[in-house]
Amino acid sequence: MNLKMSPHHLESIDLAALKLVVCLGPGGVGKTTISAAFAVDAAAHGRAVDVMTVDPAPRLLDALGLNADSAEPVEVSLDILRHSRRSKSHHARLRALRLDPKRTFDAIIARYAPSNAARDVILENRIYRNISNALAGVADYMAMEKLLDLASNPATDLVVLDTPPAVEALDFLDAPRRLLDLLNSRAVSLLGAPGGIFRRRLRVVDIAARAVLAAFDRITGLNLLRDVQAFVGSFDGMYEGFATRAAAAQEKLRAQDTAIVIVTTAEASRIAQAREFIDALERADLRVAALIVNRVMATMPDGAEISSARIPAALKKKLKRNLADYGALKTREETSLKALRDSLPKDAVLMVVPDLGREPLTIADLAEVGRSLRSR
């Protein structure tokens, strides 16, 4: 494991040295908030930043000035950060965009299609129109694809990528390879015309299956096989483009100025998921720069304050109960965090982000979270 952390002194990653931050983690841990906070903080320190989110909560969408159709980068106002001198530099900027897998897929087809005619065949094919949104992993691949686009812009210092919620860490990072595997799979070979991108010979069973599909089409009149064959065949000549792009993505993820961070919360089940993510990434030879534990409960108040407070006795009783209740949760959280720390190597980076006590709704809120991600 390559995480760098001192067990007694929490550190942070050096954001200034990075060109790409990829935030991975299970759903519901505040990954989008952390991604946006990284971006706001870097922009507040004078950098030109793009942040790409996948499925932001509506209120965070508002904070970033995005709407449901924002597929192109939208400039986010940094006026609220005017106390930061560096955020006013001409170079500093923050742009946000929301990933639109379908539109990104269309752009890829347009880029790699050997001709305009081939491009149109694919884009108009009903199979493509269905799978371009529905195929498992397409959103992951498209996020990676858009990331390469953004990262290639020389005017951008830092790209922060919020990935789709994942059950497995490699769902996202391995998406280019999985799409290549799909294009080169036996199932696709079975459905497509012989030759072209297909690397395998059809077996007897495949030919039989294709005959069944053809018969199905004759009976139903759906022309399903013809459409699928046209779709698969139209990818002929594009395989190399996809392969080159997949290799570029893998290289980018392993670059020295890329940080893959895993976001989690302090609940035992989420920490277990985070550990699985780290292990999976390690097996794939991917460097995890930091583990971020989000929404950690703030310091507990002093119980003695309740006794001396000038409030009715009934309210004091309620406050004592509230303190005891949240104290129990804090104990549970500390137990989980201790188990996590003990399970990580001594040189791993573990960053703890305190709970704001409210849903982050504004750029100022994100800046506050961002500050807690900085060196302490």
Partner: protein, 115 residues
């Protein structure tokens, strides 16, 4: 079919999407949503105002109240989608063990068997 969620925006959106997908694509009807980790209501508005000089204590009281209100708002949104919500309480205990699970199980059994 029962959907389980926590009182968080993302969980609600996923629950509503799941319900719509199951209904439209599979013709499966959702019986109810179980909202887990809902704190009980402890402070009213006047009490919260009285607590405001108490710093962290006040913040913690607001936190509990907000969590309860978010859960109520989400239950209303689920009701609009035709889904009834069953609340499970936040277990304010230092660990989640057999006793806690048994308590939650008894609450669920009572509510579901009652229907």
């Amino acid at each position: 079919m029962i959907i389980t969620l926590t009182p968080e925006e993302l969980a609600l959106r996923e629950a509503l999407e799941t319900e719509a997908n199951m209904r439209e694509r599979l013709s499966i009807t959702t019986v109810a949503a179980i909202m887990n980790r809902v704190p009980d209501s402890l402070f009213d508005t006047a009490e919260l105002a009285a607590l405001s000089p108490l710093g962290l204590h006040a913040q913690m009281a607001v936190r509990r109240t907000n969590a309860r209100e978010v859960a109520s708002a989400m239950a209303r949104r689920l009701a609009k989608a035709g889904i009834a919500t069953i609340n499970l309480p936040m277990m304010f205990t230092p660990a989640m063990g057999f006793d806690e699970l048994e308590e939650l199980g008894e609450i669920l059994a009572a509510v579901l068997l009652d229907r």
